[in-house]
Amino acid sequence: MATTIKVNGINRTVDVDSDTALLWVLRDVLGMTGTKFGCGMALCGACTVHVDGAPTRSCITPVDSIGGSAIRTIEAIGATPAGAKIQKAWLDREVPQCGYCQSGQIMSASALLASNPRPTDSDIDDAMSGNICRCGTYVRIREAIKQAAQSGGQGG
């Protein structure tokens, strides 16, 4: 069944079952592999994308549930003010280790910063505890979010 979704500002038509998870459409059909598979049950956050700006686990999001909503992935998050700040802070603080979970971490952190320009520790806990990092980069994730928040301007 042909479905049209809007990914990073571009309309893409894919022919998959309507209940296919967005993650597989992105990775296997559209070849956008920056979004990662980690658990398939919304337990780890590696597959996080934005749907109309809201952090969303693409591994449990059926493609037909998206309708005309705008999907944004790691490949285009740098085009948003919050995303750019988060990416810069991630580089400055040398956050990634193996790096596999970091697309999802950055998507969750960008969504947090966009909606809350001055997050507290507890805000960070709430927004980021759905994202597992097996390399344990949590100390630096927290520092990087705080740095991005302090880097001026409206959160984005």
Binding site: V16, D17, T20, A21, L23, W24, V25, R27, D28, V29, G31, T33, G34, T35, K36, F37, G38, C39, G40, M41, L43, C44, A46, T73, I74, E75, I77, G78, Q87, W90, L91, E94, V95, P96, Q97, C98, G99, Y100, C101, Q102, S103, I106, I124, D125, D126, M128, S129, G130, N131, I132, C133, R134, C135, G136, T137, Y138, V139, R140, I141, R142
Partner: protein, 730 residues
């Protein structure tokens, strides 16, 4: 430190420490396409073949005409920062900026790329920097000397009047300079210097200074390519169900419903697994769910973890192989004023790398191509060749970034499985394990059972230490030559050569392989078990002696000053001894493993319900010469989280032969809201570098359980922590 001991049995072919012995170690010549090529043979790399066949290089440095320096090395990046610290070694002596050095993955070739400490082509045991430390700096110095000679010859000046700096040679008296790229072809014709002086540590520009990691930019914008991201033209996606009981077989398959799923292309039936091949993972998963598979569970159908634990416990009642003996423990125990006895046990653990197991394979009649992220790419090649029935040279393996290794990707079971499936598929197929499959068909950190006794004199000082333990030897399977006389150096690391001065010590190991569950290396391996046991038991001795745990340890460290220094530093920085609220406590641990000294102080609080929260961790580390301090800090932060995850949550159990845990709901990871503040204090010196990737994992676990003891008075001798045992009595 197992590979050091294995390596030490081969004849010494290492370069002399104070100069460069170029024969058998380094050759220089023209690079294909112009420029200078240095070929290195790292010590111990190719075993006996080296002596028989002469020069056998296993690392290459190419300086091209455009000045780009390309380093081909067998080590793989899995988050530990080795893609940055290894180029730093070359860049330091070659006098170039770090950004001028590019590192390439080595193709699989065990003859060429064997890790000098492991003896096989693998990245593990925290030893990339340890192995490369001397030879790579020497190679950089040789190349620099040859480039300077080439410039001096061209200018007709004394080489001693030239200086190399930032990728060029300068002649200050005449103000001339020339880039390495321009000089590379001439340099290739210069004689290789017999002796070069290495920089003194005080002259290091790069080593010891925080460096930006070269792999970070691609990891923040989605462009980094892991094994799971490859997309050869026409690739199909497969996922699989393997026998839920290890050793079981497929009895029957009804695949009618699976075949009817839109996008499913093929069902592949193997002896002990069934795979669904599809256009995308969504269809493959849906197809898998629609399969009706009947299994023959085989001989382990009723196996439980308790059966295995009982067998190990029984095993420790009989003598084992003696791993270390000092003095005479028997009489010392008999004559001791106080005797302390305890048993400990640690569970099976899964690796749970964030990137689930996957491997992409294209089998053709005349060859096989493999795309994967592997810590041991030559093993993948060998496994693929064997499974495909092809000679080694017909198998091409492309290695990729690793989304978490921790030992899991030292194994080639996933590659062999993918080749089995690919043999039945037209065109390339990417085999991706679901998270459930990844956790239930891991190869696990072994279960170990330990029995200890110690004797204290009237002052509480230990006069006898007796330790016997039983469990799997991963080395015996993975590197059989490393297992000798019932012992291997990995399984015993952290149980022997303790930092403490014990007049009488006796340590025995019994190899007992559990039935029906495969075991493998897991971040920090032997020490992940031994340091928990020995450092918990040390705490028990301090408690029995009614002494402070830090002071008690400190009194036994006169002969190990580096250990004493990290213990004192960690205690001081942690504010050891300062009062804490009720049901909060501090715990300490001290270790010397992977050639690194480390002390941790953990601060925990335990709720009335028994929930443990680690609030703060202070680590003091002496890993000798620090190459990239930012990476040392990052690795300790990482290892601490990894260790706390295991201490609080980690346990794989078997019931009816099946692993009971399935995904991150039942096999839990520490999350950011549970992560403690972590402080890392580095002791700087010029000793040889120690390993950093793993040491922090073993050290944190007893620090946490000792802190729980301080907070609650409850001694935990079995992992993971059981909150029910820590409930506050009404």
């Amino acid at each position: 430190m197992f590979p050091d001991q294995i390596a030490s049995r081969t004849p010494d072919r290492s370069p002399s420490a104070n100069g460069l012995s170029r024969r058998g170690f380094l050759q220089a010549g023209a690079a294909a396409g112009g420029g200078l090529m240095l070929s290195l043979s790292l010590p111990f790399a190719s075993g006996e073949a080296q002596a028989a066949e002469g020069f056998a290089p296993n690392a290459f440095i190419r300086i091209a005409g455009d000045g780009q320096i390309v380093l081909t090395m067998p080590y793989v990046e899995m988050g530990q920062g080795t893609y940055t610290s290894i180029p730093m070694l070359i860049a330091e002596e070659l006098e170039v900026d770090l950004k001028q050095v590019r590192l390439e993955h080595a193709p699989p070739n065990e003859e060429l790329y064997a890790n000098p400490l492991l003896g096989v082509q693998a990245t593990g045991n925290s030893n990339a920097v340890r192995a490369a430390w001397q030879p790579l700096r020497q190679a950089g110095a040789v190349a620099r000397t040859m480039l300077v000679s080439a410039a001096a010859k061209r200018w007709n000046v004394d080489p001693a009047s030239c200086r190399a700096r930032s990728g060029e040679v300068r002649h200050a008296p005449t103000g001339r300079s020339m880039g390495y790229g321009e000089l590379a072809a001439d340099a290739a014709r210069m004689p290789v210097p017999e002796n070069v002086a290495l920089k003194r540590p005080e002259d290091f520009r790069l080593i010891g200074t925080p460096a930006k990691r070269l792999d970070t930019p691609a990891k923040v914008n989605g462009t980094a390519v892991y094994g799971i991201d490859v997309r050869p033209s026409g690739v199909k996606i497969a996922t699989l169900a393997q026998s839920p009981v290890f050793g079981g077989r497929v009895k029957s398959v009804n695949d009618a419903a699976a075949k009817a799923v839109n996008g499913v292309r093929q069902i592949v039936r193997l002896d002990d697994a069934v795979a669904v091949v599809a256009d995308h993972m969504g269809a493959a998963k849906k197809g898998l769910a629609a399969l009706q598979i009947e299994w023959d569970d085989g001989p382990h159908a009723r196996l439980t973890t308790d059966d295995i634990a009982r067998e190990l416990e029984q095993a420790t009642l009989k003598p084992g192989a003696v791993a270390q003996n000092i003095g005479d423990v028997g009489p010392a125990l008999t004559g001791a004023a106080t005797k302390v006895e305890a048993t400990y046990q640690v569970p099976f653990l899964a690796h749970a790398t964030m990137e689930p197991m996957n491997c992409t394979v294209h089998v053709r009649p005349d060859g096989c191509e493999v795309w994967v992220g592997s810590q041991a790419v030559a093993r993948v090649q060998a496994a693929a060749a064997k499974t495909a029935g092809l000679p080694l040279d017909k198998v091409v393996v492309h290695n990729h970034l690793i989304g978490g290794g921790f030992g899991r990707r030292l194994e080639s079971d996933g590659a062999a499985r993918a080749v089995e499936i690919a043999k039945q598929v037209e065109g390339p197929v990417k085999v991706v394990w679901t998270r459930e499959e990844d956790i239930q068909h891991d190869m696990y950190r072994p279960y170990w059972f330990d029995r200890l006794s110690a004797g204290l004199d009237k002052d509480g000082k230990p006069v006898a230490w007796n330790h016997r333990f039983a469990g799997s030897s991963v080395i015996a399977r993975w590197l059989p030559p490393g297992y000798n006389n019932g012992l291997d150096p990995d399984t015993t690391e952290g149980a022997i050569n303790l930092v403490y001065a014990f007049p009488n010590l006796h340590v025995e190991y019994l190899r007992v392989e559990p039935p029906g569950i495969p075991t493998a290396f897991w971040r920090s391996v032997g020490p992940s078990h031994n340091v928990f046991v020995t450092e918990s038991f040390m705490d028990e001795l301090a408690a029995a002696a009614k002494q402070d745990p830090v002071a008690y340890r400190r009194a036994l460290l006169d002969k190990t000053p580096r250990a004493k220094a990290v213990l004192e530093l960690a205690a001081e920085k942690a504010g050891w001894g300062r009062p804490l609220p009720p049901r909060s406590g501090r715990g300490v641990s001290l270790q010397h493993v992977f050639a690194t000294y480390m002390a941790h102080v953990a601060e925990v609080e335990v709720s009335k319900e028994g929930a443990v929260r680690v609030r703060r961790v202070v680590c003091a580390v002496d890993c000798g010469t620090v190459v990239n301090p930012d990476t040392v800090e990052a690795q300790i932060q990482s290892a601490v989280i990894f260790g706390i995850t295991a201490a609080l949550h980690g346990e794989i159990t078997l019931k009816n032969g099946r692993v009971e845990q399935t995904n991150f709901d039942t096999y839990q990871m520490l999350r950011i809201d549970e992560a403690p503040a972590i402080e890392v204090h580095i002791v700087r010196n010029v000793e040889a570098p120690g390993g950093m990737g793993e040491a922090g994992t073993s050290a944190i676990v007893p620090a946490v359980t000792n802190a729980i003891f301080a907070a609650t008075g409850k001694r935990l001798r079995k992992l993971p922590v059981d909150p029910a045992a820590l409930k506050q009595p009404a």
